[in-house]
């Protein structure tokens, strides 16, 4: 099948500082791709290059089967939503939505129909005559989305559209965007550095670091089987716990992980290749620890509670073990207090192991 968007051998450099190097991705029609990565890793740069807002150093950008590397942004069949909304401040919502169409000299009736449709879809009907300054953050963001939608194109680009909103609004709009995608079925490329957004929205997530894609896979895959230490640490809140140690195997016996006095049998861990001896990092998520480790028959990590963070439906317990602070997620009510001893058990089948070079074993 033809890709909706594809980037071939893309390289972008400012002077001799290469921001994106030899990148190639294919994005399928109707796919929701999230670009996730730390600040400065080149997410916006990539998105801008796709939109035609950024000069590329070499490589090609294809949209809907057409090489658009040299096209003007308006001719690429894309709509874009920006982090700062970038609404035209002195125009009413209606004008914001219709400005591009009026400049393109669409028939009046067509413009009105499109604006009405978009406004209805995004529940902006009642706001059409307000100015951006008279809108709340969430409303502004909806208008920004509307301005992209009204163009009725196949590909939408979102550059951290929610990061200026407060937590509550962010959660609400996230769901709305997801519904929108299900309804419209357009291709969407969505940049964020918020991993909750990435996990909840994406069909596939591309995790970037320094202009290079680390892992491109489904959210579940990325969460469960991170390809390397960077991805593992980047995804998950609270972050994955890491313990440094070594993998050793007796003669022919199952490999074990030794770290800081801890010995963990790795026979239930599914290695990607045959496990070699050597330094390794064991990573496991807070929910992979079971509070009553003793009864579970799992290897235990004894420690002392440092901080308890109740979050309503669940709670995160931070405990100290061997100079490290590890986290453990509990459902429901927690009776632990700072200072209490605990020895949670670790489910090694769900954990991840990384070799000396940081990649998954």
């Amino acid at each position: 099948m033809q890709s909706a968007v594809s980037v071939k051998d893309l390289k972008i450099a400012y002077g001799d500082h290469t921001v994106i190097d030899k990148m190639s991705i294919d994005i399928a029609p109707r796919e929701f791709l999230v670009l996730l990565g730390p600040s400065g890793c080149g997410k916006s740069t990539l998105l801008n290059a796709i939109a035609g807002l950024q000069d590329i150093t070499s490589g090609e950008v294809w949209i809907s089967g057409k090489n658009v590397s040299w096209e003007e942004p308006k001719d690429r069949g894309i709509g874009m939503v920006f982090q700062s909304y970038a609404l035209y401040p002195r125009m009413s919502v209606r004008k914001n939505l219709s400005f591009g169409l009026r400049v393109a000299r669409l028939p009046k009736a067509e413009i009105e129909a499109r604006v009405a449709r978009t406004a209805a879809l995004l529940q902006l009907d009642k706001l059409l005559d307000r100015r951006p300054a008279e809108l709340s953050g969430g409303q502004r963001q909806r208008v920004a989305i509307g301005r992209a939608l009204v163009r009725e194109v196949d590909v939408f680009l979102f550059d951290e559209p929610l990061s200026n909103l407060d937590a509550k609004l962010r959660n609400e709009l996230r769901v709305e965007i997801k519904k929108l995608h299900q309804r419209l079925g357009n291709t969407m490329i969505y940049v964020t550095h918020d991993q909750v957004e990435a996990l909840t929205l994406a069909d596939r997530i591309a995790i970037m670091r320094d202009g290079v894609i680390q892992q491109l896979a489904s959210p579940a895959e990325i969460y469960r089987r991170p390809i390397n230490l960077f991805v593992a640490g980047f995804i998950g809140a609270p972050a994955m716990n890491f313990i440094e140690g070594r993998i050793e195997r007796g003669d022919g016996a199952a490999p074990v992980f030794l770290g800081n006095g801890l010995t963990i049998d790795l026979s239930r861990y599914s290695f990607r290749a045959v496990a070699a001896e050597g330094p390794a990092t064991l990573g496991f998520r807070p929910e992979h620890l079971v509070l009553d480790g003793a009864t579970s028959g799992l290897p235990t990590i004894p420690g002392r509670v440092a901080v308890v963070e109740p979050m309503g439906s669940d709670a995160v317990v931070w405990f100290d073990w061997a100079d490290q602070s590890l986290s453990l997620r509990l459902m429901g009510d927690v009776t632990l207090e700072p200072g209490d001893a605990l020895a949670p058990g670790l489910d090694i089948a769900k954990a991840s192991l990384f070799g000396a070079d940081g990649s998954r074993l």
Partner: protein
């Protein structure tokens, strides 16, 4: 255009008509702005005979710097023929303290009005703005009396005080607009830290207002340096600024007009503020960008 190659990498650059028009506009505008300066310089380098021929834009046939020498040190004002040289230092002596003082007071005003909002702040600001709009010819007469009463008439201190007073509205306006955009929390944080009005001003606000100080200083400097009327009326015989002498050279009603000397004298008088703009225009622009002037 040739058959389109396979697009890859950056779009090839093209020279468009719009771009050419843009540069044409800029160049024409630049000519419009430069023409008067060019004329002044060229005229100052001509001899009077050549000027009478009436080709003001023509380059001088021979470079004649004598007008500059005359303007600087030889031109007569009445029976004294010392050029505008003597006024130069008077102008410096008037301008520097006036600028320093008015900028300081303006900064304090702007800071107090916007971040402390004492009682009546709005009224005071309104009065100042009204004062700023009123032509100061109106103030001359009573001010002269008042200055005489406090024994500052015809003194350096007097003219400085007058400049400071008449500079207050503009300077206060600019600083107030600037400080309004400074987060109030900065002031609050300092108050929690125990700093008082002055301490906050000197240690926190003044340092962040440096770009503004530059802008206001430049505006005040040109304003005060270029002033003629106040200097004439208040400075006194021994402190007359350069502009009064320029007027004496340029504005003679009876007698020959030596345009070359006039132009040289004019340029000489304007040269200090011009130099400041040419050298520190960058800072001026930066200061404006930092929020010197906004609504």
């Amino acid at each position: 255009m040739m058959a389109r190659p396979h697009p890859n990498g950056p779009k090839p650059a093209q020279i468009t008509a719009g771009r050419i028009g843009l540069y044409a506009f800029l160049v024409i505008a630049a000519l419009f702005f430069l023409l008067p300066l060019y004329t002044m310089v060229v005229t100052s380098l001509k001899s009077m005979d050549e000027i009478r021929l009436g080709q003001i834009f023509a380059l001088p046939a021979t470079l004649d710097f004598s007008a500059w020498a005359t303007a600087w040190s030889g031109a007569c004002m009445g029976t004294v023929c010392v050029g505008i040289r003597s006024g130069f230092w008077n102008s410096v002596a008037i301008t520097l303290p006036s600028v320093a003082l008015s900028v300081f007071i303006g900064a304090v005003n702007g800071y107090a009005l916007s971040l402390w909002r004492p009682r009546g702040a709005n009224l005071l600001f309104g009065l100042l703005m009204a004062g700023g709009l009123i032509p100061y010819q109106i103030f001359l007469y009573p001010m002269v009396r008042a200055m005489a009463n406090i024994n500052l008439y015809n003194s350096l201190a007097g003219i400085i005080l007058v400049h400071v007073i008449f500079g207050l509205p503009l300077v206060t306006l600019l600083f107030r607009n600037y400080f309004v955009s400074v987060p109030e929390e900065l002031c609050k944080a300092a108050r929690v830290d125990g700093a008082g009005f002055w301490r906050i001003f000197f240690e926190i606000m003044l340092p962040i207002a440096v770009p503004m100080v530059v802008v206001v200083s430049m505006l005040q400097f040109t304003g005060i340096w270029n002033d003629f009327l106040l200097g004439l009326v208040f400075a006194g015989r021994d402190n007359l600024p350069m502009t009064v002498q320029l007027n004496n050279i340029v504005n003679t009603t009876m007698g020959e007009r030596t345009y070359n000397v006039n132009m040289a004298a004019t340029i000489l008088t304007a040269i200090v503020p011009l130099t400041i703009y040419f050298l520190s225009g960058r800072w001026f622009v930066r200061g404006i960008a930092a929020g010197a002037v906004k609504g």
